[in-house]
Symmetry: C2
Subunit: 490 residues, 2 copies
């Protein structure tokens, strides 16, 4: 099903309505946000069969995968609601006069920024799209939301938008707290993020798209925050001792990580760095054998299929690269099988094309002559969502400079595991230095994602009965607050 693009003059109305609704939504008690998120989760769950069927036909993702993703999306909504209810995302600090010998009573909390525009991801029709992490965290923050449907799953997006609208109606809340627009064209995105009443943007997609939105937002008269999650090659560093004994189990683990959902995860491993050795040879051989047994699977759509082949070609057509297999692909069905190639570290370091994400089931082995070259590869990397090390505990101790260099480059550092599988929990960090994201100081997954859409306001010397409930003496909402430097629930 296709939907016509929204017209430019309609975008103005949408943002204006969002700003009007914001003046109401930001006055609701905290509990109202919690109920909204729970209601959306409940209705999504009720409609799961319809939603999964629609998403399967639009994305070619498997039913098993989509079921897991929808269930995760409902859990995500509820867990952000719970975190919102605990008050932790409000980051309340109260400094009283009595305890501090201060002149002023100061009470600070996070307040919502205003209308937020969200651009969902092609590869996650549920978890990172219309009712995904960005929408859940913006609503939990107290912001109104405008989702621009991803054109590649516009119908699924519309179904989910209708569910959010129904949730608002059930709770007697203004329907314009959440709005949903269609627009495949560049102009729609530009008009939306350039509107003076818009206050923040969430985006998940390509580096080109994310950077363009970021630039538009910085060039506004009033620049606004942009949380764009864009690209990552999720490097894996394999140390010899560990590979010596465990090459085969790790080959199996990485075969699954590279090929799962046709490699269309933002945390899919893109480069695997090892030191020339029998163990690394054995690992490369075992991984090649492993992926040769895997069937080709369809990519999300023709555009992503073609982009995959093109970006992969810019890598494998480098003279210095050796292809390790000859994977099948089918331009009628957009099906691809996992592809592997190899390059020497010295050549890798010299060639900027290797830093670019190849979105799909492709990994490049980077073979180093020694540990010094391995460190150079790590230092050469751009910012990443994740970095992983496969090593014995002893090797972790003897490779401190490598570990330290990798931590500088990433948002999540993984020991003896694969980067795919992003757990939704408070300690998760999903974000990393540019170009992984445009703002490494925030996460897109876990309760801390809520604070992306807030800013602090300090209330000075307000009579206590005029304070927001969150800040009142006696803590009527029983939330977490830091009083005179001590966190607690007083």
């Amino acid at each position: 099903m296709t939907y016509p693009d929204i017209l430019p003059n309609q975008i103005n109305d949408v943002v204006q309505q969002s700003a009007n609704a914001f003046m109401i939504y930001n006055q609701y008690p905290l509990q109202q946000r919690v109920e909204l998120l729970y209601t959306i989760a409940h209705l999504l769950d009720q409609e799961s069969e319809t939603l999964i069927a629609s998403a399967a036909s639009e994305t070619q993702l498997s039913i098993t995968r989509l079921k897991a993703e929808l269930s995760r999306t409902c859990w995500q909504l509820k867990s952000y609601a719970d975190y919102c209810k605990s008050g932790q995302s409000l980051q309340i600090r109260i400094d009283t006069c009595e305890e501090n010998n201060h002149l002023n009573d100061l009470r600070k909390m996070q307040v919502p920024l205003g209308p937020v525009a969200i651009f969902g991801a092609a590869n996650f029709p549920f978890a990172y799209s219309t009712a995904g992490g960005d929408t859940a965290s913006a609503l939990a923050a107290g912001c109104t939301v405008i989702v621009k449907a991803h054109p590649s799953h516009a119908h699924t997006s519309q179904l989910i938008a209708d569910i959010i609208t129904a949730s608002l109606a059930l709770l007697n809340m203004p329907e314009t707290i959440f709005q949903h627009i269609h627009g495949a064209s560049y102009e729609v995105g530009k008009a939306l993020v350039s509107h003076p009443l818009l206050k923040a943007v969430g985006f998940t997609g390509s580096q080109k798209g994310g950077k363009q939105i970021y630039d538009w937002c910085q060039q506004r008269q009033q620049p606004i925050p942009v949380f764009a999650e864009m690209s990552s090659i999720n490097p894996i560093f394999m140390l010899p001792e560990k590979l010596h004994t465990e090459a085969e189990p790790y080959a199996k683990l990485f075969g699954a990580s590279i090929s799962n959902s046709a490699g269309q995860f933002c945390t899919c491993p893109g480069i695997i760095v090892g030191i020339k050795s029998e163990g690394f040879e054995k690992f490369m051989r075992a991984l090649s054998q492993n992926v040769s047994t895997l069937a080709a699977t369809p990519m999300l759509n023709k555009g992503i299929f073609e982009n995959y082949l093109n970006t992969k070609d810019t890598v494998i057509q480098q003279e210095t690269v050796h292809e390790l297999n000859n994977p099948s692909c089918n331009a009628n069905t957009n099906e691809v099988a996992p592809a592997l190639a190899r390059v020497n570290a010295q050549d890798f370091i010299k060639t900027p094309q290797f830093m670019q994400e190849v979105f799909g089931p492709f990994a490049l082995f980077v073979q180093c002559n020694d540990e010094k070259e391995m460190l150079l590869v790590a230092q050469q990397l751009e910012g990443q969502l994740t970095a992983s090390v496969i090593a014995t505990e002893e090797e972790m101790i003897t490779h401190k400079a490598l570990i330290s260099a990798l931590i500088q480059k990433c948002g999540r550092f993984i020991y003896n595991g694969v980067p795919t599988g992003v757990q939704v929990s408070l300690a998760m960090q999903h974000g990393g230095p540019f170009p992984a994201t445009t703002d490494s100081r925030f996460t897109a997954v876990g309760g801390d994602a809520i604070t992306r859409f807030t800013r602090p306001v300090c209330f000075q010397n307000l009579p206590h009965h005029l304070l927001p409930d969150e800040l009142k003496p006696g803590n009527p909402l029983q939330i977490w607050r830091t009083i005179n430097n001590i966190p607690g629930t007083k």
Copy 2:
């Protein structure tokens, strides 16, 4: 005393050395940062006489004021050290496998960004300059620091830099953890913030300067965070009932707030909005009388003196503006006396020049015909550091829309008080929507200023003995951590 500008090729060396020192500084235990800040505070205090004499001769600020500022600066260093030691600025979240039925052990903490460039303020030689809030918070965050001395108090800046260098030497720490450069030219600033190894910028100064640095940093291949505190007209809204009985005491309070240190505070009240009434007349009359008794005081330097007269002229030369006094000024001594003027709300709303900060002892009364006009003025405002309301408690209840509009515009909302006097404590918010600052999500004052120079990293499944001490089971540092969603000191 004048210092030659640093040469462009030297800037490269400085940033490279800062990046090298960062690799050492970020590996120190937390306690080492704490000791550094305490040592700097101690040595500043020891040298207070020399520092105050130097600052007095360079800035024309009074000895009383400079004494208070230096003492505040030492307290600030120690309070950020204490907050750093408590672990709260690390925002630790630990999700264990056992409690959550999770596959992964996730442990997240804030890590330092890297080398930070700091541009101190003309108007605060101590508290917002070389060893001021930005330096204190960057060092507490674990970042190395490069301060560009403000040319208008370069000698004082050099003396303070020498004290920080001496502190590092006393603790046997690398001297390049802190570096100090001179440069009055535009090119020095541009080269510094454009260097690829630089990771963040702190700036306090004019809107033109701050926005220029922000733009340079966004145009880099890797954009970096810029915390520029730029301009604010700190609006005061006075409601009739309160003025009816207390016009005179408030006139006295605001006379001092506007004229203190020749109005050279970022939180100096720039517009005072009231409703045409006997009370507001009485207040304007009393304030005019109050300031007419105040002597002219010297501004910081010739440039600031001239800029004050020019920006004030763009306001008072508007046809719609009535000057309320004829303040003296002396171009030989850069002395100015407080100036007041009046405009009607309808004219105020139509004229963008009135939104511009006049840095100095000047306030513009904005006279509204009714409460509706007052609300329109509030809605018209740009982002501000502060907004204040002078009102009875009853008036606060009957003016909800006005209060709500003002909170949207500011970082600190003040009831029945003046905006000058920024308390250094955790609940303080010093920052606000653009153009008050370039990033309203952070504060420049109070312990939370530390997190400006950090980003989160999640450690997944690391063997416990390989974790940073901050994240180890048993909490060896006895710091605040959130474990399985519950904050505590376990």
